[in-house]
Symmetry: C2
Subunit: 297 residues, 2 copies
């Protein structure tokens, strides 16, 4: 653990790929086309959410093995949400992670089912991975927390509000509520799952990680709004300029681009400040917050 | 428990409605339109799957309280699957439970999100309902079994094969594989969840209930194929004659209507025979098998 977290990105991404290989049926399993499409949709991506889970685990002194199921489940939920969000009836996007979206590469019905089955599998992984060393009561709480974050009072609720809000100018409070649900809840859950995997911890540590998660979650979405304006589709691997095309309210549209950048920077800084309680052990999450802050896609 | 099971249908349906009222956010909860649509989609229906869970619980001597979460979760998965199956990209149906389908009553994006959130909530219910008296390890197994039945190797896989098979003539073996996945897995899971809620039981009892579940599951889908031909849309509360319109292989189309009826009757009989091991305690599941066998919708 003495090497900087940056050196462990590749091994952690490999662990995640191994988890997906283990928990997704092979592309030969009946029904083959569906399983092939599930693997297609799951390929690539920044894997930021699993990295947050693993980094939080390091801060809490957990072995990576204790976090594999949570990291995999979080990413499966994330991938399913991308597949459904890209559907014609939703954001109607043809490009994701630099490749055709699932409903373009396959068809719309398959994309709906791919998302459905990836969500199911996320809960299966936490329920069935009994080599994590985490006791059953904690794993149930992890499932409950993941479901809260992913469901109608979290991510899916945020997506519903996002679609309802197209063409309407939101207040800053409305926009923040939208972002906190749509993106923030799942990023916050990364930290919460790691905390639950660690069992009993001092409330101040739990609160510090939760504050970090809330700040990073909102900052991440403000950044997304900024990147949608400032980056190209080629750099993003998805369609740029979408928010304006869909008449979406964003932090830059509501408060102006410079103020949005200041707000994101403040949130990243607040996230880092909350980690002081962990002193040197905080390095993985400190590094990751800077890594996220510096991203260009 | 001495009154016949028929007298407990209404109380059990009420328990289920109470569970939905408890576990679905109110129609005023943010985002209100999504939660209203989730409640719209969840209204009505035969509630056969929850009744199977409760009936199996009675046969095993469990209090209804131990089965509320499983019954609710199974029905939430079922409702989500209907909402998604009815989408234009899937079976494209405008009528369900005698009312406009969710994407007709609301819109397509909302229907996708309603299904997504109902699935999430199903897992949340089992994870969060800690008043069931069932220990955490068993509840994890229940979540794993539900996920297996609902996922790509169960219900969603069956739906994928069903869509791929339109316009193609299936062999009887292919058709049975489709039905066992699409409808059978979730009905079998009703029995499996009740068995898990009961904790350790003699293997012969576990196997008897599993056999009952497998037979009822396949018989139910064969019946659906028959009803699609013989019933009217008004009686079904959903569009009749869909299979022929979609060029779907069905038991009647593959083996002929009379042979399909014989096959269904054999399966119902085989389901009942497996219950002999429970002697008089088998009444709820015996009654329910006859009730299902006699249904006209």
């Amino acid at each position: 653990m003495s090497a900087p977290f940056a050196e462990r990105l590749a091994p952690y991404r490999q662990r995640l790929d191994d988890s997906f290989a283990r928990w997704l049926p092979t592309a030969q399993t009946y029904p083959a086309r569906l399983h092939e499409a599930m693997r297609y949709a799951s390929d690539g991506g920044k894997r930021l959410r699993p990295l947050l889970v693993y980094a939080a685990g390091e801060v809490l002194g957990l072995p990576a093995r204790a976090l594999d199921a949570a990291a995999c489940a979080i990413e499966m939920i994330h991938v399913y949400s991308l597949v459904h969000d890209d559907l014609p009836a939703m954001d109607d996007d043809a490009l994701r992670r630099g490749r055709p979206t699932t409903h373009v590469a396959y068809d719309e019905a398959t994309a709906i089912l791919v998302g459905d089955a990836l969500q199911t599998q996320a809960f299966h992984v936490i329920a069935a991975d009994d080599a994590s060393g985490i006791d059953a009561a904690q794993r149930l709480r992890m499932i409950a927390v993941l479901a809260e974050a992913a469901g109608s009072r979290g991510m899916v609720g945020g997506q519903a509000v996002d679609l309802e809000s197209e063409g309407r100018t939101l207040s800053l409070a409305e926009l923040e509520a939208l972002h906190v649900h749509k993106t923030g809840a799942m990023i916050r859950a990364c930290l919460q799952l790691a905390t639950l995997a660690a069992g009993e911890r001092p409330p101040a540590q739990v609160e510090a990680l939760d504050h970090y998660g809330k700040c990073i979650g909102l900052a991440f979405q403000i950044q997304d709004d900024i990147l949608d304006i400032e980056s190209s589709s080629a750099a993003l691997g998805k369609t740029a300029g979408k928010d304006e095309a869909h008449l979406k309210s964003t932090y830059p549209s509501v408060m102006g681009l410079p103020a949005a950048k200041v707000r994101a920077a403040e949130l990243f800084e607040s996230a880092r400040e909350s980690l002081a309680i962990f002193s040197d052990a905080a390095e993985p999450l400190l590094w990751l917050s800077r890594h996220i802050e510096g991203r260009d896609r």
